[in-house]
Symmetry: C2
Subunit: 266 residues, 2 copies
């Protein structure tokens, strides 16, 4: 299936279990690689979160807040990045195993941020990768920052930047809930799924959802969704789908009807 | 020990055994990490070769020669890069284990070549890394090429570029022989070590050394040494040392007397 560019995010909660450090969900990763392969989408950029590989370390060493001249933080940054490389390796290996020409593209090797926001982003390798039919795989990463020394660049900031820069048709965000609900479905069983939200409705919806109490250093569902707003404003459709449930991501990639939340401009 | 920048190359033959594919020399990697830690050199850039992780795959899929519109080559490129990431992970993990703040910097994520030569090389993250006291770890990699689609960027081309761009004081090349000899020491037991060579003497020496018959896609010792000539021409001293033998790399890093070959301008 060839069409406009799809930017696919796989949330850290989907591909790892956040209950303990460095714990991948290997069967899920394998299944998702199969679904992506079967969907046969091109061009495709994949971005994944850190889950229990990135967040506990980033939190322990206060990487997001920046460098405060403590030698232990340098080692902490090194450990955090290397943990993300380990997780990324599991994803890329699973994709290659399904015959997808996936190439790890390491954010800290080329992206610089300024006060936590993307500042420079040399695009040449990524442009080439996409034009040749590779699937670049990026990830939320510990990166270097002009003001802070270093910080955390979230996968959510990355997908929006990539979608805008490479003129994506759509963003698909694979999460571990069915989509955006009237309240946090992990805490409230009465929560109802919202299948279609416009930008105008979004602020009210986000206010209703209480922040998820997780170890996520990049801040729960509301902050994730807020990161994606600029893409929606530019006419890129965003679809949130439960990638923890079999076959949903496949259907979303194939544009088949499936439970989830569309966020559209209006 | 703080001084001018040291660019250290660890040859693929030192950190892997080339007798079979994907075979790291783990005790050697651990020992070298200890020697580097004990030497306590700063600033330091580390670059390693591919050995049995990079070369057999690169050769099988003809990655160096470029993309010839075969889908199998895309997967081959993906596999080659990912194998290098695996090897790099072993090195970086060993360094972090010795409390060195080592950060993997992935060449294919930011370097573009043109007909096999470095064409663009955004330096901002590396500059920041070095200024903060991190040890960047790069490697010979499968990279994207403006003319060929993709190719192999050797660790030797990388060290020269890095040494020139970041004004290194010296390059240390860790190999699995004692240095440059009057002939190939792996094939001729009469070979004598040359401890000191000037640029003027170099062409004659390289002619005497027959090409090593290995699976190295970047081409034996003579081609490695030729890559480094521009650095020597710019006054950067180059020292070849046997990193397969304990304590030699440590002594070289500490500038203590040790067996090896200096290549100097004149």
């Amino acid at each position: 299936m060839s069409a406009g560019l799809t930017v696919l995010k796989l949330g850290g909660s989907v591909i790892t279990t956040k209950e303990r450090a460095l714990a991948p969900r290997l069967p899920t990763i394998k299944r998702l690689a199969k679904e992506i392969s079967k969907a046969n989408i091109s061009p495709l950029i994949l971005v994944h979160g850190g889950g229990s590989f990135g967040h506990p370390l980033a939190k322990r060493y206060k990487i997001k807040e920046g460098y405060r001249c403590k030698a232990s933080q340098l080692l902490g940054f090194a450990e955090t990045h290397e943990a993300m490389v380990s997780l990324d390796k599991l994803i890329v290996d699973a994709l290659i195993n399904e015959k997808i020409p996936a190439v790890a593209v390491s954010p800290s090797s080329f992206v610089m941020t300024k006060s936590g926001r993307i500042h420079s982003f040399p695009e040449e390798p990524l442009t080439k990768l996409l034009s040749m039919g590779f699937v670049p795989v990026l990830f939320g990463d510990a990166v270097f920052d002009l003001d802070r020394g270093f910080t955390i660049l979230s996968g959510d900031q990355l997908i929006t930047h990539l979608a805008l820069r490479f003129k994506a048709e759509r963003i698909i965000v694979g999460v571990d809930v069915d989509g955006l609900c009237t309240s946090n479905p992990k805490m409230n069983k009465e929560a109802k799924l919202l299948t279609h939200i416009t930008l105008k409705e979004l602020p009210t919806v986000l206010q209703q959802i209480s922040e998820a109490k997780t170890t996520d250093v990049t801040g729960g569902m509301p902050s994730k969704v807020r990161e994606i707003v600029p893409a929606v404003e530019n006419g890129i459709s965003v679809f949130l789908v439960n990638a923890a449930k079999p076959n949903r991501l496949y259907k979303a990639l194939r544009k088949e009807p499936v439970k989830g939340t569309y966020i559209v401009k209006g």
